[in-house]
Amino acid sequence: MMRFYRLLLRLYPASFRAEYEAEMCAIFATRRRDENALMAGIRAVFDVLTTAPRVHADVCWQDLAWTLRTLRQSPGFTLTALTITALGLGATTAAFTLLDHVLLRPLPFPRPEQLMVLAQTAPRGNGRAAVTPPNYEDWRSMNKSFSSLGAYIGVPLPVNLSGQGEPARLDAWTVNAYVFPTLGVRPAVGRSLTAEDDRPGAPSVVMFSDELAGALFGGASNAVGRTIRLDNRPYTIVGVMPPGFAFPTREARLWTPLAGLPPTSWESRTNHMLGVIGRLRPDVSLEQARADLRVIAGQLERAYPKENDDVGADVRGMRDIIAPNSRLLVLAVFGGAFCVLLIACSNLANLLFARAMVRRQELAVRVAIGAGRERLVRQLLTESLALALAGGAIGLGLAALATPALAVLVPLGLPIRATPEMDWRVFGFAAALAVATSVVFGVGPAVRSLREADLNALRARAAIGGHMSRLRSALVIGEIVATVVLLIGAGLLIKAIWRVQQVDPGFKPEGVLTLRTAVPFRSTPDERRAFYSRVLSEARTLPGVKSAAYVSFVPLTFSGGNFPVTVPGVTAPSEEIQAHVRFVTPDFFAALGIPLLRGRDISERDNSTSPRVVVISQSLARRLWPGQDPIGREINHGTVVGAVGDVAVNGLEADSMPQVYLSAEQLPPDLVFYAPKDLVVRASGNPAALTPALRRIIREVKPEQAISDVRLLEEIVWSQTAPRRAQLRVLGAFAAIALLLAAVGIHGVLSYAVSTRTQEVGVRMALGAGRGNILLMFLRQGLKLGVGGIVIAMPLAYGVARGMTSLLFGVNPADPSIYGAAALLALIMTMTGSLRPTLRAARVDPAITIRTE
């Protein structure tokens, strides 16, 4: 019975037991004797079970109070440790949240791994292209791999929504009946689109997102069955998608069926306009689907040798359509954050370790006067955990602040939310790492010193074991390595951005305003022409307008619209060139500032009754007729009347195809999708000031016309580098944090070295060493760490830079100026960190240090 009671007492903390076990046993023995033995036993069990947790809690409170007291006594240490932990955890959590959101988390559809994106491959390795409607129809009927294939038009069409409060401009996505079933998403209320809705002449219907239905009608069920007006035509809302649904981009709110398209545009095998998605059958692998589509593409090529010459099919997972560079941007940010976490942890280790060593004496004294070791360990543990958790809480706050800033790096083309949600798993991981670090380095050394010779520590400030100070030096070198790698990475990216911004887009963006007015597909050519000419002639009369024109798409905003160019009777099919085709009104080149190099501009006389004419870019002229005058020659799109400079249509960082410009008035009916939409106006003064006047003109010409994308051309060019700039800000911040932390680390190690070697310094000085020698001795120690870190970092940084080559825009991954600058910065950081402890060593007074020993 007594044995059992003793066992029970083990539930109390050891310190409590040490004090009171004997007496409690005595009381238990008395009780057993005086009362019923069984009742005494039961009462004892109940007693221990209820009071033991409270005793533990008492001890924790005490330790916490002690922790707060000691941390307040050394505010420098506390602040540093908290800052380090918070920065490390905050950076890693925010960066991993982004990585997970963009690259890892499954897309928000059922069985997302079955969802595929299909595209045509352009002839002769010219990349991927949007799918032509007949090819889509053939793929759909011939394939055996997909349970469903859906198609939609690859760009949203702005529409004016009226009949429900204020007219609003919305982006409408044109989807066919198979898109939603392929995604596996049913409407929350009402019905989905059907094949019947896609037929020309079908009643006009539309589907809403839950968000839009809520905003306009206060809820999904209120919306279904209502009639709204889009571009002044009535549409019936037949269904509302579930909350959170967005496709193909995260901004999609409104879907219309294909019925609105002119039937002819559905028949052209050269009209690349469709995005295609497919759902794999459960038993079909990606490879099998690719093989299937390859066979079908071959059959189509034989059936339509002219249009489908060398046209293949590309199948890839929906998750994988994210551009490799977007992926790399995200990975680089995460890599940077991980560097910061490693630096933070090694710094924390160093800091706690130094503190534990300083405290060794205090602890030894307390053990000597009878404090239980278990109590001391508990106290130290409480302190370490409190530090790690408080730092972690601040870090979580930092991450919550930083995550929205990282949203710029979320690619627009994925149907996922714009702002990632905080990821708790990664926070847990980072917090666990911080806790482990603080326990291992904050408690471990202290416990060991307790176990070893307590009295030795009492007797002298014995120098610590050599291997421990070597470990600390190794940690600092590690910090310097990570810092230098970060510095080099950020430096190379800065140089790359600088280069991208130097790229000549081929036009002059300054002083140009653009806005989009998409005339509905149903409009007749005459209606369209009347609209353009009235808007343009009115705009040109505005004071401050130098020139104005319409174009299919302003450069940098749409990469589709590529068609083959051939010289009739000359070009072999294998030599066919893909070119960007745009329809323009007269004055387009002047408005955009594209130099007219030869011949003439498109003019008013190039209308539907006159011969078809084209203006081509210089690079196309050179490829077709090297060294000759292109004017007057024929290509498959018409007679060349002019040659202009090339434009970076696909973006500053991408290679652009040559360009072909056709007269807006000569638009073939099957290419109505490329009818001019974007108004460009060059102003002599501030272009933004023209916006109200232009809006008024358009409203007067056509009151129901939607206006969208009012932007300065400069903004469009500037936004090209926005993800890069965002990434650079993040990496730059990481590099700065790393630099700071590494300096703190060096400072810590040297301070400790100085404090343990004071006596040695005193002796040396007594023996005649000058202050200069002492200064050099410690400076050399700091430099050794710095140089060691830099030497190790260089090849590592080169490896990382090689991995980022595609982000570097031609900057040499071994660019010596960047490596030199990073090394110099690291050296300056080393010297700064070493300065204070070194100066302290040099101020040692030999008389005092020797006397105290």
Partner: protein
Amino acid sequence: VTADVAALLPLPPVTFHILLALADEDRHGYAIIQEVAMRTNGELKLSAGTLYRSIQRMLEQGLIVETRDRPAPEDDDERRRYYRITKFGVETARAEARRLAQLVRLARASGFAPGRA
């Protein structure tokens, strides 16, 4: 370790009882249990766990100390520890008593307790 008296008020009942039990002489743990039981006519029988948890806290708070003065050897059991109330403990117990008296006065004024207001 001594703190402000006011910071400890109101005292937990067990703490107050232990202080009362130590008012006239130093006692060891089991003697405190017996004394408290006697003073409360057997209504409050402290368990060992409750007693020593309170004692540990009271030692920390400086209300009591362990004393090295031992009783005559024939009465002594060397396993036993004896506790003595400190000056701070006396002050705290007095303050608690005043607090309780004040409370009773208020209760009387409202007619909840017998006696004159």
